[in-house]
Each structure stands twice: as C-alpha cells, then as structure tokens.
Amino acid sequence: MRHSRATFVLLACLLALALLPHFAEKYYIQLFTKIMIMAIFAMSLDLLVGYTGLVSLGHAAFFGLAGYVLAYAAPQYEAANLWLSLPLAMACSGLLALVIGALVLRTSGIYFIMVTLAFAQMLFFLFHDTKIAGGADGIYVYAKPVAAIAGWAPFTLENHVHFYFVVLVLLTLVYAVLRRLLASPFGRVIVGIRVNEQRMRSLGYRTYRYKLVCFVLAGALAGMAGYFAAAQFGFVSPETLSWHQSGGVLMMVILGGMGTLTGAVLGAFAIILLELGLQALPDAGGVEIAKHWQLLMGTFIVGAVLLLPHGLLGLRRLWPGSERKPAEASHG
C-alpha cells in the first residue's frame, strides 16, 4: 500500500512537470529545465554518497569536463551533433572518472573526501591556468547541439520547450535506470559495501571493482548533466568544475535526503528555488540582503544539518499514518 502511494506521488509530480510548459512563461520553463539538469547531477552523486557510501567532494569535475567537451566538439560558431557529442562528452567524463576513481578508491573515509576535492581542483587549475579552453574567462558554446540524423531532426534544442522535454525525458530515464540498477543484485552489493565493506569482501565480492563501476557510472551521468547545462547556458567556465559546484550538489543530495534518488531531485528543486527566493529578498536595515543571500543560505545549511538529520524527505515521517522509515536511516 505504502509503495503504491509513493508511486502515485511520483507520477503526479511527473505529470505536473509534463504539463508545466502549457501554462508557464519561458522564464519558468528555462528555470525548471535548469533545475532538472541539476537534479540529474544530484542523482548521479546520490549513487555514490547515498548508496555506495562514497562521499565525493569533487563531483563537479565530471560535470564541468562534459561542458568543455561540448564546447570543443562544436566546430567554431557552428552547432555540434547531439547524437555524437553527447555520448562523447559522457564517455570523456566516464573515462576521467575511471582514472580518478582508480586512484581515489584506494583511500576511504576522510581521505576520500579530501582526495576527490584535490583531484577536482587539479582539473580546475588545468582549465583555469592554461590556454587550452579560454583560461579563466571560459569558452562559449555558440549554438545548441542539433539532433539531426541524416538531415532529419526529431526536435530542436533551440526551442526552449523542446529542450525542456528532452531534459524531462532524460531525468525520468536516469531515475528509472538507476532504480532498476539499485534493485538488481549489483545494487544490493553496492548497498552492502556501504553498510559493511569488510563483510562484502569476506563474502568474496571484489568491492574495489564495484565501487569503481559506480564511480564511472556516476561520472558519466554527471557528464550528461554538465553537457546539457553547458548547452542551455551557452557558456563554460572553470567555475563549473569548482569546488563550490561540488559542495552545492552535495548539499542538494544531503538536504533532500540521501540514498533515496527522489531526495536528490527534491534537494535540487529546494536549493535552487531557495536561492532564487533569497536573491529576491528586499533590503532590511541598510543591508542588501539579496546581495548577501549566501549568508542566509549558509545559516540555512547549518540549521538543516542540526535540525533535519534525514533531509527534507525525512519530514515525510511527520505525515500522519506514515510508518515507513527512510532508507538512509540505516546509514552512518
């Protein structure tokens, strides 16, 4: 019964998102596109943080790299082909995740957090300090990728409604695939690794390989998000792989409620809408609150850590008649 209620809520949300372009203005359609892109990014991190127990503070490296690949894949002032450049961008991010993952997975716990951060920073300096892609100024993606197959294009990303639906479909797809994956024996193994890696090893699982597969998959999915973020924004800068980006997406995952996927999506919506809300606040007592919105965001994060140990999804336990314990309750 409980299962069906959760499914019902999800389908209702999906329906609402599908209907949004019919009555929303362009601004909101683009805003929700951006949020859904970040939701894909957050879900990819949730696979690592919430399910495998790998707290990565460098996940933006894969997000940012894919954006740069898109900028590079496009001929000057022309559009790249979606069907070629998207797999290429995801493959590059996945490959980077393979290299970084092979190294960082030798560590665990606090080391892992610091080492992932340091590697992302290394990539940041690569793009920031060298001329390979515009340096600190960043690089433009002049045209959105075209979805042409032998001259015929089923949709065009230049149209913001088409773009919205492409991202919505991908969000749903990524969610469904990850759900399926996590319900599979593979998924049970990685959750087992989070709960007790020693025991999984003694059961004969090569945990390093499982973790590496997760790391690469999460990297490739983050690449997918980064690709569309770059396509939508039309601009890539080293900031897209900065540690603020990594910290921000980690915040979405934890705030939403990690180890649930839905929580990551919820977190993306909550954080970005909250950011916009804070930036729209009027001045008070001579202080430009909107300009210094990060002050309130920081306070909000600190408060959330102290008061919401299970994230926003944990709040559903306040719902009358809900006895279901969130999946993350067993964590930590």
């Binding site: 707290v55 560590t107 610091m114 915040m251 600190v302 850590v305």
Partner: protein, 298 residues
C-alpha cells in the same frame, strides 16, 4: 638560474611551506584527534588576515593587531566548537562537510558585508622592513625570514606541547580512545574545545603574519584550505611530523614549479601547469602509500 636566485627560491619555498604547516597542523590535529573534517579551516586563515588588516589600522601596530587577533580567534574557536562542532562528533563525516561548508558561506558573506570585496594590503612593521642584500640587484626581505623563524618556533612549541607535557599526553590519549580517557576522569569535551581553539588560532595567526606579504583578498581561505588538504593527505592524518614534511615539500614544489621552465615535445609543462604540480605529487604519494607518509595504515 644562478646561486643567488636559487637561494631566494629555496627560502621562499621553505617560508611558504612553513606557513602552510601552521594552517595544516591545526587541520590535521582536528582531524586526527577529534575526527572532524573542517572545511572552514581555511576560512580562519582568511579571518586572521582580515583581523590583521582591520586591527592594525585601528591600533596602528601590527604587533598589537596580532595579539588582539589571536585572542579573538581563540574566542571564535571556542564559541564555534561549543555551539556547532560539538554536535557533530557522533555524526557521519558527510554532515561535518555540510555544516562546515555552510560556515564558509557565512564567514565569506560576513566578510563581504563588513569589509567589502576589495583587495587590501597590510604594511610590514617598521623594524622588519629591511632587506638583506645578496648581490648588486638581488636582496631578501627580513620580514620573510622573520616569518619562517616564527613558524619554526611555533612548530617546536607544538612538538613540545604534544610530546612532553601532561596536556599533550591527554590529547594523544583522547585521540586513541575517547571513552577511556573520559572514564579516567578527564574532561574530554574541554580538551576537544581546546584543540579546536588551538587549530583556529594557528590558522588565524598564519593569516595574520602572511597578510603583509600576500595581500588580503576574498577567497584567500579556500585557496589555502585545499592546499592544506593535500598537505594532510601526503603527511598522513593526525601526524604533525608528516604535516611538517609534506608542507615543506609542497612549498618547494610549488615555488620551483612557478620559476622553472620545462618543455616536453613542444608542450609547455612548466610554469603553465605549475598549479597542478602539487596534485600530481599527491597522486604519486597516494599510489605508493594510500595512508600518507606518516599515516597509520588500515
């Protein structure tokens, strides 16, 4: 590169390394003893630099500013530990990351509200303004030598405190077994508060003495924080000795990475990629010793 330039670069590298050590030692102690990963540690370095900037204008003396700044830093450390950090000891590292990330946003924005987003400079104190001439054109500022000397004295003091005093013994015991120390009647909460305040004071002090040579600017804390993470990873968590060695290593690698030129097959490796050098060093150390040079394995 002649002998004098080489000497200057070595001195610069050592001075940068020693400064990193001041920040990283607090980070590694807080990690090793309290098990807290503190992203806001670099922020305290920034707080120190801004304190030096504002207090030295107020008092008209950097010395008074440093004295006052250290007191303020200790108070900040005690209050933060008491209000926030103490609630994180039994929580997952994840929440420590998140809460201290929130603290960074708060401190950075407070800095923006109070001091604005401009770059500031702090004057070198009168008595240390001289330079030691090396030849007709090159000279080395006394202030930098003084910085290195102060860092060495502090490092020695820390070594003595941790290895030779009763307090240090209790701190080491607390790192090994928190419950046992507590059951022996030692107030572990007070001990942790002291360690945290010490770490904050060290980072802030590093920011204060660095202010005259490296201007005071927004985001300076995060820059230092990430380099200090590399120091801690290379040195091994909780090892002050490791932090010292790694900090000196990174100071020298970073300094020489910026002045040497290296070309392989027409590709400019140095100094273009000098920003990446320390991370490459970290990757190499990780491959050989995942627990760091002086870390405990397992």
């Amino acid at each position: 590169m002649d002998a004098n330039t080489f000497l200057i670069q070595v001195l610069n590298g050592i001075q940068y390394g020693l400064l990193l050590f001041l920040v990283a030692s607090g980070l590694t102690l807080i990690l090793g003893i309290m098990g807290i990963i503190n992203l806001a540690h670099g922020t305290f370095y920034m707080v120190g630099a801004y304190l030096a900037f504002s207090l030295s204008q107020h008092f008209g003396s950097l010395w008074l500013a440093m004295a006052g700044g250290v007191v303020i830093a200790v108070v900040i450390g005690i209050v933060l530990e008491w209000l926030l950090i103490s609630r994180l000891y039994h929580r997952d590292h994840l929440y420590q990351v998140l809460l201290t990330y929130g603290l960074i946003l708060i401190f950075e924005e407070l800095r923006s509200v109070v001091f604005g987003d401009d770059v500031h400079g702090v004057a070198v104190p009168e008595m240390l303004r001289a330079s030691i001439p090396l030849n007709e054109t090159l000279s080395y500022p006394v202030y930098r030598l003084w910085m290195s000397a102060v860092c060495i004295v502090l490092a020695l003091g820390m070594y003595l405190l941790i290895q030779k005093t009763r307090l240090g013994m209790t701190i080491r015991a607390g790192a090994a077994n928190r419950e046992m120390v507590q059951s022996l009647g030692i107030n572990i909460n007070l001990l942790y508060r002291l360690v945290f305040a010490l770490g904050v004071a060290l980072a802030a002090f590093a920011g204060m003495i660095a202010a005259p040579v490296a201007s005071v600017f927004p985001g300076m804390g995060n820059q230092v924080l990430i380099v200090c993470f590399v120091v801690v990873v290379i040195g091994g968590i909780g090892s002050v000795k490791g932090a010292m060695l790694a900090a000196l290593l990174i100071g020298l690698v970073d300094t020489f990475g910026k002045v040497l030129t290296l070309e392989i097959g027409g590709l400019h490796i140095l100094p273009e990629l000098s920003g990446m050098m320390i991370y490459v060093l970290m990757a190499v150390v990780l491959l050989a010793r995942p627990q760091g040079l002086f870390g405990k394995s397992g």
